[in-house]
């Protein structure tokens, strides 16, 4: 419950530019856009006050400038929190968690698919923008389609008149992901998200981490069953989103948060 409230705040607080809806300005153009939120949050969203770290990273790569600021920013967030932002404040994570509650058949994503997010990071976020000077992940990002594409088409008649095949393709990608969110747990976080891939590299050394008391843990795996990412907390795992669901369910209180 606590996590849901924080996730909801994480989705609402960076997206509070309601003035634009009154003044007719499509997106916020003030100085706050110079700062990134630690999660995927499309800056094309009419309500968004901040920049998206993945979009910003791609932009710098596309204009062939070394992205000191954004790399440093991701390093700070990663070193302090690891993938904590994924589990607690990512708006797309919230969408995934809520859709997974729909009762229907469920599938488990094979573990090998977890490494695909590093391919996305290297191929679509770094190499393709470097070679073609276009932000390719933004063009495919389902989060952008949900939080920027749909709202802009809804609020602006000019945007509606521009809708074409590209929008249709983006909506198909979004539809596929929304369906996957219903039938599998955190498929985007575990297999696609390039930001999660970056943060996961810091998970082992992050300041906030889970600590397992080996004298109390009997490896009953109740924690692993409750984990939305399907990882075993007693093995330090790159994919742990530090949601602390495992800590809640551990019958022997063997899992602690350590700094």
């Amino acid at each position: 419950m606590k996590r849901r409230i924080v996730q909801l705040l994480g989705a609402i607080l960076p997206n509070l530019y309601f003035r634009g809806l009154i003044t007719g300005r499509l997106i916020y153009q003030g100085p706050l856009k110079g700062f990134c939120v630690p999660t995927l949050n499309c800056y094309g969203c009419p309500l968004s006050l901040f920049a998206c770290p993945v979009g910003t990273l791609q932009h710098f790569i596309a204009i062939r400038q070394i992205p000191f600021y954004i790399v440093g920013y991701l390093g700070i967030v990663g070193t302090l929190f690891g993938r904590l932002a994924c589990g607690w404040i990512c708006p797309f994570g919230l969408v995934q968690d809520l859709l997974y509650k729909i009762k229907t058949f469920k599938i488990k994503i094979p573990k090998g698919f977890r490494y695909f997010k590093y391919v996305v990071l290297l191929g679509i976020v770094i190499l393709l923008p470097l070679l073609t000077q276009e932000p390719w992940f933004c063009k495919l990002c389902p989060q952008g389609g949900l939080s920027a594409g749909i709202p802009l088409v809804l609020v602006s008649a000019a945007m509606r008149s521009l809708v074409g095949k590209l929008f249709g393709m983006k909506m198909i990608i979004l539809g596929v992901f929304l369906f996957l969110f219903i039938i599998s747990r955190c498929p985007f976080c575990s297999t696609i998200c390039p930001l999660g891939a970056i943060y996961s590299l810091f998970n082992r050394i992050s300041v906030i981490k889970l600590k397992i008391d080996p004298t109390l843990c009997n490896k009953c795996e109740i924690c692993a069953k409750s984990c939305p990412m399907g990882v075993k907390p007693y093995n330090t795992h790159l994919d742990c989103i530090k949601c602390f669901e495992c800590k809640k369910v551990c019958p022997r209180n063997a899992i602690k948060i350590s700094f």
Partner: protein, 62 residues
């Protein structure tokens, strides 16, 4: 015999913990340095310019 392996395990855990602390301090300092360099290179202005320009193809419209 068992005690010896336990002690060895504890020692390696302490070493591992030290390595983690040291790595996180180095990473944090390096990241802060990168941010400072970025600010001096006026990258924030570039971030604002990029984030306030509506890229139609990025949101799937144009």
């Amino acid at each position: 015999m068992r005690r010896k392996s336990e002690v060895r395990g504890q020692k390696s855990e302490v070493r591992n913990q030290k390595f983690c602390y040291l790595s996180s301090i180095i990473c944090l300092l390096a990241s802060v340095l990168l941010v400072v360099i970025g600010i001096f290179r006026k990258e924030i202005a570039e971030v604002i310019l990029n984030a306030t320009t509506l890229c139609l193809s990025c949101i799937g419209i144009g």
